[in-house]
C-alpha cells in the first residue's frame, strides 16, 4: 500500500535520515521503532509532506507522492497524527473535528462521519463544546486520532501516541489502535516504547542513526536478543 525507498532527509548539513526503505501492506500495523533522534518522526514527516525529502521515493497506492504538499498527501488518503497531538487548543472539540473532515466531503457526509467518531470516542461527545486546550492528554490524543479519521483516510500515520500519557490511558489508546486495525485500517506506528509497539504491531522496522538496522515480524523482533538488550533493558 505504501512503500518508502532509499529515503534521505537533511536538516541543513545534518543528515537526519540516511537511508530508509520500508513497505506497509494494506490492513497491517507496521511499527517503526528506535531511540530518540533515530529518524522515526522525520520519516513520518517526509511521507506526509511536512519534511523535505533529500533523496528517495515515497509511493502510496502505486502513486508517487514524494515531495507533494501535505494537503495533497492528505487528500490522497494518508492522515498523520503528529507527535505531541497538536490539537487546536483554542478551538472547540467540534471545530477540531470539523476541520478534520472539512475539505473532501460534502457537509452532510461530514456530519455523518462526525457522528461515527463520537460513537467511537464517547469522551469527545461529552466535551463537544469544550476548548481543545482544556482536555487532558489522553483526551487530546483521542481527539487527534478522531480528527485524522474525519477525513476518511485509507492509512494513518501515528507519531508517538503514548508520549506523556499515564499507563491506563496508554492502554486505552492502544486498544483503540488495535480496534482500528480490526476495522481494516492500515497503520504506520512510530513508537519509542518498543515493548508496547511490538505488542500490537504485525511487523516492525528498527531505526538507528537514520538507517534501518533490523526488520521482521513483531514476534521475531520481540524475541531478538539485540532488541531486548537495547530497548528492554533485559
Amino acid at each position: 500500500m505504501l512503500s518508502v525507498e532509499g529515503l534521505k532527509i537533511r536538516y541543513g548539513e545534518v543528515e537526519a535520515v540516511r537511508r530508509v526503505d520500508l513497505t506497509v501492506e494494506s490492513g497491517e500495523i507496521l511499527a517503526l521503532v528506535g531511540a530518540n533522534g533515530a529518524g522515526k518522526s522525520s520519516t513520518l514527516g517526509a511521507i506526509a509532506g511536512l519534511v523535505r525529502v533529500a533523496a528517495g521515493k515515497v509511493v502510496f497506492e502505486g502513486v508517487d507522492i514524494t515531495g507533494l504538499a501535505p494537503e495533497v498527501v492528505a487528500r490522497k488518503g494518508v492522515a498523520l497524527v503528529p507527535e505531541g497531538r497538536r490539537i487546536f487548543a483554542s478551538l472547540t472539540v467540534a471545530d477540531n473535528l470539523r476541520l478534520g473532515g472539512a475539505v473532501h466531503q460534502p457537509a452532510a457526509e461530514a456530519r455523518l462521519r462526525e457522528e461515527e467518531m463520537l460513537e467511537l470516542f464517547p469522551i469527545l461527545r461529552r466535551y463537544y463544546r469544550a476548548k481543545g486546550g482544556n482536555l487532558s492528554g489522553g483526551e487530546q490524543q483521542m481527539l487527534a486520532i478522531a480528527r485524522a479519521l474525519m477525513g476518511k483516510p485509507r492509512m494513518i500515520l501515528l507519531d508517538e501516541p503514548s508520549l506523556g500519557l499515564a499507563p491506563q490511558l496508554i492502554d486505552t489508546v492502544f486498544d483503540l489502535i488495535a480496534e482500528l486495525r480490526r476495522k481494516g485500517m492500515t497503520i504506520l506506528l512510530v513508537e519509542q516504547n518498543v515493548a508496547l509497539a511490538l505488542e500490537i504491531a504485525d511487523r516492525a522496522v528498527v531505526l538507528a542513526n537514520g538507517e534501518v538496522v533490523l526488520s521482521g515480524t513483531a514476534k521475531e523482533l520481540a524475541s531478538s536478543d539485540l532488541v531486548r538488550q537495547a530497548y528492554l533493558g533485559a
Binding site: G12, E13, V14, E15, A35, N36, G37, A38, S162, L163, G164, L165, A166, P167, I170, D171, Q192, N193, A195, L196, E199, A208, N209, Q229, A230, Y231, L232, G233
Partner: protein, 617 residues
C-alpha cells in the same frame, strides 16, 4: 569602545581570536582609508562628500551591527541615537553669538560652550554611555520581536522629544549654525575606530556571550552566560557608535531637523546592514559600500540626459525603486546578506594561528555537594516532580531513569537552576541557591540538553570558549583551556568549523566539551547517548569514565540506553510519575519488580511482573 579585557593578570600573548580580529579590522580600515585617499586625490568635492557621508553611515551601521548583529534583535532606534548625538554636538559646538539668536531659550548650563569638534565628541561619547544604559535597561526584560518593537517605540519617542523640546532643539525648525569642521579625514578616522571596535567586540566576552544567547538562550545560560549584561554591553556600544556618527553628521550637515533622524534614516541603515549581512562587521562594511555605490551609480541616470550616446528620460524615484528591489532580491536570494555570517578571518585563510591547548589540569570550581530537598514542580495542575529529595556527591556517577514523562528532565532542570521549583530547594556546596541557570553554571553545575543546544552560528572553538570565559577571565587562557576540552573530545581538528556543520554525534560531544570547559564539580547530562550509534556510545562511556576519574567530578545522567546506564553508573535513581520509586546500585534496581512494571510500562511487562509475583507467591 569595546570592553577592555580584564587586565588584572599579566599576559604575554594576545589571544588568537583578538589577533585574528585585529588583522581583519586593520585590513578593512586599510580599504576604507584607500577609498578616502582615492577620493581625496582623484575625486572632486562632491566625491569627497559622498565618501565622507559613507564613512558616517558606516560608523552608525557598525553600531547597529554591534547590537543587532550579535544579539539577533533588529533595532529601529539607531537613527534616534544618531539624532541625539547630532543635536548634542550642535549645541556644544555652536558659536555662542549665533546661539543667542538661534536658541534663545536654551537652558543656561547648555549655552555658550563653543567646544571644538573633538572636545564635543568626547562629551557626546560620555553622554552616549549614559543614554545607552538608560535606554538599554528596559530592553533587557524583552526578547525577540518584543524587543525590536520596543526599539521602534524608542525611535518615535526620541523623535517626539526632539520635536517637542523646542527650547533645546528648535523643534521641527531647522537647527542651523553648526560649524562644519568634519571633513573626509575626520569621518574616516572615526569610522576606522568603529570598524576596529565592531570587529573586536564580537571576540570579547560580551560579544561571545551575546552571540551565544542569540543562538540559543537556554544553552547560553547553561554555560554561565548572563545574557542581560552581555546584551546591555552590546546595546551601549551600539549607542556610542550611533552618537559618534551623529556628532559627525551634525558637523557634516551644518543644518538639520528631527525629520532627518527618523524612519527614513533608520530604514536606510537597516537596509545597508541587511544587504551586507547582519552578523559580521564585514557585512556592515560591505553593505554600506555596496548600497552607496548602487545609489551613486543609479542616481546619475535618473535625471535623464545623454549617457553613452543614449537619451534617457527623466526617471525620478529610480534610486528608491532600485534600492527597494535590490533589497528584496538580497533578502530573497541570500537571507543572510551578501557577506553571510562569516568574518574575513584572513589569518585563518593563511593557515595560522593555532590555539595551543593548555596542558594544565583545570582547577575545578569549588562545590562538593548538590542537594535537592523536597523538590516539587507543578505545571498547570499537573505535578511533574513531586517532593523529591536527593543528594549527589562528587566523584560518582548516578543514572536517573524512568518512563517517558516521568519528570526526569524537569528534575534535572531544577538541579541546574533552569526551572524554578514550585516548592523545595536546591543547594550547591551547602548554600541554597535561587533558580538561575547562569549562576548555577558559574558555581560548578554544568549540564547538557536532551535536544542538543550548541551555538550553531559560532565556531566549535567559540562554543567552548564562551563557557571557559565564564570561569576564566583571561581570554588567552580561556582559549587554551577550551582547546584542551575539545582535544579530549576529539574535536580539535574541527575547532574552526561553525558548529552547524557538525554531525549529530559530534554535536553531542561538543556539548559535553563545552560543559566541561566550565570546570564543573557536577556534570548533568540529559540523554547524552541519544541518537548515537553503538561505537559512538562506547566512546562516550570511555570518555565519561576517564573524566570522572581525572577530575573527581559528580556526573548525573538521564539515559534510556540501559546498557550504558548499567555499565557506567554506580548508583541509579528511578523516577515514575514524579516520585522516586527506587534508589540503589544497578543490580538492586534491575531486580526491583516495581521498577520493571513502571519502566517498561506495557501490559506485557505488567503481566510479566504479575506472573513473576504469582510464581514467587
Amino acid at each position: 569602545m569595546a570592553a577592555a579585557p580584564d587586565d588584572s593578570k599579566p599576559r604575554n600573548v594576545m589571544p588568537a581570536a583578538f589577533r585574528a580580529a585585529t588583522v581583519d579590522a586593520l585590513c578593512m580600515v586599510a580599504v576604507l582609508l584607500l577609498m578616502a585617499l582615492a577620493a581625496a586625490a582623484f575625486g572632486g568635492a562632491a566625491m569627497q562628500r559622498v565618501v565622507t557621508y559613507a564613512a558616517i553611515m558606516l560608523t552608525a551601521v557598525l553600531g547597529l551591527q554591534i547590537f543587532s548583529g550579535n544579539s539577533g534583535i533588529v533595532s529601529f532606534a539607531q537613527a534616534a541615537f544618531v539624532g541625539i548625538g547630532a543635536y548634542a554636538t550642535g549645541i556644544l559646538t555652536m558659536p555662542a553669538a549665533l546661539q543667542r539668536t538661534a536658541l534663545r531659550d536654551l537652558p543656561q548650563f547648555l549655552a555658550g560652550h563653543e567646544l571644538s569638534f573633538f572636545a564635543a565628541l568626547a562629551v557626546v561619547l560620555a553622554l552616549a554611555a549614559l543614554v545607552g544604559l538608560l535606554t538599554g535597561t528596559p530592553l533587557l526584560r524583552l526578547t525577540g520581536s518584543s524587543a525590536s518593537i520596543a526599539t521602534l517605540a524608542m525611535l518615535i519617542i526620541v523623535y517626539t522629544l526632539l520635536v517637542a523640546g523646542r527650547e533645546i532643539t528648535r523643534g521641527s525648525q531647522p537647527f542651523y549654525g553648526v560649524p562644519r569642521e568634519v571633513g573626509l579625514w575626520t569621518a574616516a578616522a572615526v569610522a576606522s575606530v568603529a570598524l576596529i571596535a565592531a570587529r573586536l567586540f564580537r571576540e570579547t566576552s560580551f560579544g561571545l556571550a551575546t552571540r551565544a544567547a542569540a543562538d540559543d538562550e537556554r544553552g547560553a545560560a547553561a554555560v554561565g552566560v548572563d545574557q542581560r549584561m552581555a546584551r546591555l554591553a552590546a546595546w551601549v556600544a551600539g549607542v556610542i557608535a550611533a552618537m559618534a556618527a551623529g556628532a559627525l553628521m551634525a558637523q557634516f550637515l551644518g543644518a538639520f531637523s528631527p525629520r532627518d533622524f527618523y524612519f527614513d534614516l533608520g530604514f536606510t541603515m537597516l537596509a545597508m546592514l541587511i544587504v551586507g549581512g547582519m552578523s559580521s562587521s564585514l557585512g556592515a562594511f560591505a553593505g554600506v559600500i555596496v548600497t552607496i555605490v548602487v545609489i551613486e551609480a543609479v542616481r546619475r541616470f535618473e535625471g535623464g540626459g545623454e549617457v553613452l550616446g543614449l537619451h534617457l528620460p527623466v526617471m525620478f524615484g529610480l534610486t528608491q525603486g532600485v534600492l527597494a528591489i535590490a533589497m528584496i532580491l538580497v533578502i530573497w536570494r541570500r537571507p543572510t546578506g551578501l557577506f553571510g555570517e562569516r568574518e574575513l578571518n584572513l589569518m585563518r585563510m593563511t593557515g595560522s594561528p593555532a590555539v595551543n591547548a593548555s596542558t594544565a589540569l583545570p582547577r575545578p570550581v569549588s562545590a562538593d555537594r548538590l542537594v535537592a530537598e523536597h523538590l516539587t514542580r507543578r505545571y498547570a495542575g499537573v505535578v511533574a516532580v513531586d517532593d523529591v529529595s536527593l543528594s549527589f556527591e562528587t566523584d560518582s556517577i548516578t543514572g536517573i531513569i524512568g518512563p517517558n514523562g516521568a519528570g526526569k528532565t524537569t528534575l534535572l532542570n531544577m538541579l541546574a537552576g533552569d526551572v524554578q521549583p514550585s516548592a523545595g530547594t536546591v543547594s550547591v556546596g551547602g548554600t541554597v541557591r535561587q533558580a538561575s541557570a547562569f549562576r548555577f553554571a558559574r558555581s560548578g553545575v554544568a549540564r547538557t540538553f536532551q535536544n542538543i543546544r550548541v551555538f550553531p552560528h559560532m565556531t566549535v572553538l567559540e562554543n567552548a570558549v564562551v563557557a571557559a570565559r565564564q570561569v576564566e577571565p583571561d581570554l588567552g587562557q580561556a582559549e587554551a583551556a577550551a582547546m584542551a576540552e575539545l582535544a579530549r573530545m576529539g574535536l580539535e581538528k574541527l575547532a574552526d568549523q561553525p558548529a552547524a556543520r557538525l554531525a549529530y554525534g559530534q554535536r553531542r560531544r561538543l556539548e559535553v566539551a563545552r560543559a566541561l570547559a566550565l570546570r564543573p564539580r557536577f556534570l548533568l547530562l540529559d540523554e547524552p547517548a541519544a541518537g548515537m550509534n553503538a561505537v559512538e556510545t562506547a566512546e562516550l562511556v570511555a570518555i565519561l569514565s576517564a573524566v570522572r576519574v581525572e577530575r573527581r567530578i559528580g556526573v548525573v545522567l538521564i539515559e534510556h540506553d540501559m546498557r550504558l546506564v548499567m555499565t557506567l553508573c554506580e548508583r541509579i535513581v528511578v523516577i515514575d510519575h514524579g516520585h522516586v520509586i527506587a534508589d540503589g546500585t544497578p543490580s538492586e534496581v534491575q531486580n526491583n519488580p516495581a521498577v520493571i512494571a513502571a519502566y517498561l510500562g506495557s501490559r506485557t511487562a505488567r503481566a510479566k511482573s504479575a506472573a513473576s509475583e504469582e510464581q514467587t507467591a
